[in-house]
Amino acid sequence: MSIDTATAAKVAKLARIKVEEDALPALAQEFNTILGFIEQLNEVDVEGVDPMTSVTPQRLKRRVDEVTDGSQQDKVLKNARDAREGFFVVPKVVE
């Protein structure tokens, strides 16, 4: 798989990362290096091997259905650039 500058631009846009036009070729090249490494991993035969999801035998930790958190509007909004009447306030987004 090869990443061209158009794909690099699209990925940057989807990730909301601003990349200047002249930086795109280098970015695409970096992607290709990473993907090249991944492709190298594809050479390993993993037939019949279950994907490993943890290095130690672990079970997904569960919580009970109790309200133990919240009621901290001030803390939640503390780092907001703009907050009014308990809401985050952001530039208008309308469907």
Binding site: L60, T68, D69, Q73, F88, V90
Partner: protein, 503 residues
């Protein structure tokens, strides 16, 4: 075993300018799990709280916060799956669906794309006595809800509340088996009913706890059957997805409007674009949500913060063993055990609370009579006062008492209605009220005979007329009923009058 024989309803046909067209509909229903806390945090799910007060740092996506799954939510998804007779996957996993929106602070929604917790099931959607549509369920997965944006508080800014962010949703995905707007509404109603029986989702559509994305396409008659045979979507038209609807009425309107829009395009020689649309109930039209199109590349990948969700067969079996009786089974039992019509059984089983109420009334009493009284008198009266069955002023014991008095012949049907009104407004024990207020039906022949004799003696002219015209017997019966304050047994009065007049 439940009798599942039924006829399939006819698909909805819309006449275009050139052809008749059929509709093909599939739905993705989002049902909020009725839990106390969120799917991955300990914040409350309570509706209507102060904005941003039901928010843990996990929900606000503060750096370093990690999700921990709420086991109750997992159980509710499994219960729902079992209620839809679906396969339960003992191994499922969570994925990240990546997109940017102000009410999604993580920048991704945790969902289950590749390995959902519930696999294939089915819902039988009743469309009238003996007529039903079997809608196949493709999957149910768990996912996080997003927050809420409010756009009308400021001309230039949107206000964001994260209280709903991270609340557990079950997304129930159907196959394209629904064939008309009415079926779509009936499908949601049936899902809602089943989940309310199970207690997994409260089904409150107004609060957005149950909402649907509806996929609509059109096809020529016969094409759908080919699709069903081959599984080839090429036989169907291009579908459009109408997003996020939480009203049965709007869902029906939107489907009809969208189908007509597609018919117009195709008949004019155009092609339908596969896209996401929004229904505008004020204008009665659907419009494209272009912004969603661009972001459609969600770049799903397994969530590295969460291990796969492994559950044990024993645990699932235990949930299965404790499932309540579901609507289809209950309805069949009401028809079989109480001799109710399918229609009455449907009405009574629509809500589990109504069904329980009816059963308490009907226990050891006349089932049909109990059904009549619950449906016609009680439901009618509750509706008039805008009451729910759960806050009925008349208890099952009281209504049962009234029914016993009717069955014993102590009161007539008419008096029973008066008695019902007294019990409804004033309360009290029906038998005692009847006794105290002298409402008992007079079956005593001596008393009836005396009353009949009196009326005959007072109306010699009418007696002559009645001998010529036997229909006038009714007039005498009426007079006797009046004289006895409606308490005389009408059948006994009728017989006595006829005998005395010799007709």
């Amino acid at each position: 075993m439940l009798d599942q024989t039924f006829e399939t309803p006819k698909p909805k046909v819309i006449a275009g300018a050139k052809h008749d067209w059929e509709l093909v509909i599939g739905m993705e229903v989002h049902a909020q799990v009725a839990s106390n806390a969120k799917l991955f945090s300990g914040a409350s799910t309570q509706f209507g709280n102060e904005p941003n007060s039901n928010v843990a740092f996990v929900d606000a996506a503060m750096p370093g916060m990690l999700p921990v799954i709420n086991e109750f939510c997992v159980e509710q998804a499994v219960r729902t799956g079992l209620g839809l007779k679906a396969d339960i996957n003992l191994w499922s996993a969570f994925d990240r669906k990546n997109y940017f929106y102000p009410d999604l602070p993580q920048g991704y929604q945790i969902s289950q794309l590749y390995h959902p917790i519930v696999g294939e099931g089915e819902v039988i959607v009743d469309m009238g006595p003996g007529v039903a549509r079997r809608v196949r369920i493709e999957r149910i997965h768990m996912e996080q809800d997003a927050g809420k944006s409010i756009h009308d508080m400021d001309p230039n800014m949107s206000f964001v509340d994260l209280n709903r962010t991270g609340v557990c949703l079950m997304e129930i995905v159907s196959r394209p088996d629904i064939r008309g707007p009415e079926e779509a509404a009936a499908y949601i109603a049936k899902l809602r009913q089943i989940m309310r029986y199970l207690g997994t989702c409260d089904g409150n559509m107004q609060n957005g706890n149950l909402r649907a994305d509806v996929n609509v396409s059109i096809c020529l008659p016969g094409a759908y059957e080919k699709f069903m045979e081959t599984g080839d979507f090429g036989h169907l038209g291009t579908r459009c997805e109408i997003k996020n609807m939480n009203s049965m009425r709007f869902i029906q309107q939107a489907i009809e409007v969208e189908a007509r829009r597609q018919i117009q395009i195709v008949e004019a020689g155009g092609t339908v674009d596969q896209e996401t649309r929004l229904y505008d109930p004020d204008k009665g039209e659907t419009r494209s949500m272009r912004s969603k199109e661009e972001a459609h590349d969600y770049r799903y990948f397994p969530d590295p913060d969460l291990l796969p969700l492994e559950i044990e067969q024993d645990w699932v079996d235990n949930i299965a063993a404790n499932l309540p009786e579901l609507p289809d089974e209950k309805k069949a039992r009401f028809v079989g055990d109480f001799g109710l019509s399918e229609y009455d059984a449907s009405v009574l089983t629509a809500e589990v609370e109504s069904a329980d109420f009816f059963e308490a009334v009907a226990k050891d009493r006349d089932g049909k009579l109990a059904a009549n009284w619950v449906i016609n008198e009680l439901f009618g009266r509750l509706k008039k006062d805008d009451h729910d069955i759960t806050d009925s002023p008349v208890s099952p014991e009281q209504l049962g008492g009234i029914i016993e008095l009717i069955t014993k012949g102590d009161i007539s049907g008419k008096i029973a209605k008066d008695l019902f009104e007294i019990v409804y407004t004033e309360g009290g024990n029906p038998a005692e009220i009847v006794e105290a207020r002298g409402m008992k039906q007079v079956t005593d022949t001596v008393a009836i005979e005396a009353a009949v004799d009196q009326i005959i003696a007072d109306n010699p002219a009418q007696v002559e007329k009645a001998k010529a015209n036997p229909k006038l017997v009714g007039w005498f019966v009426g007079q006797v009923m009046k004289a006895t304050g409606g308490k005389a047994n009408p059948k006994a009065v009728n017989e006595t009058v006829s005998a005395k007049l010799g007709i």
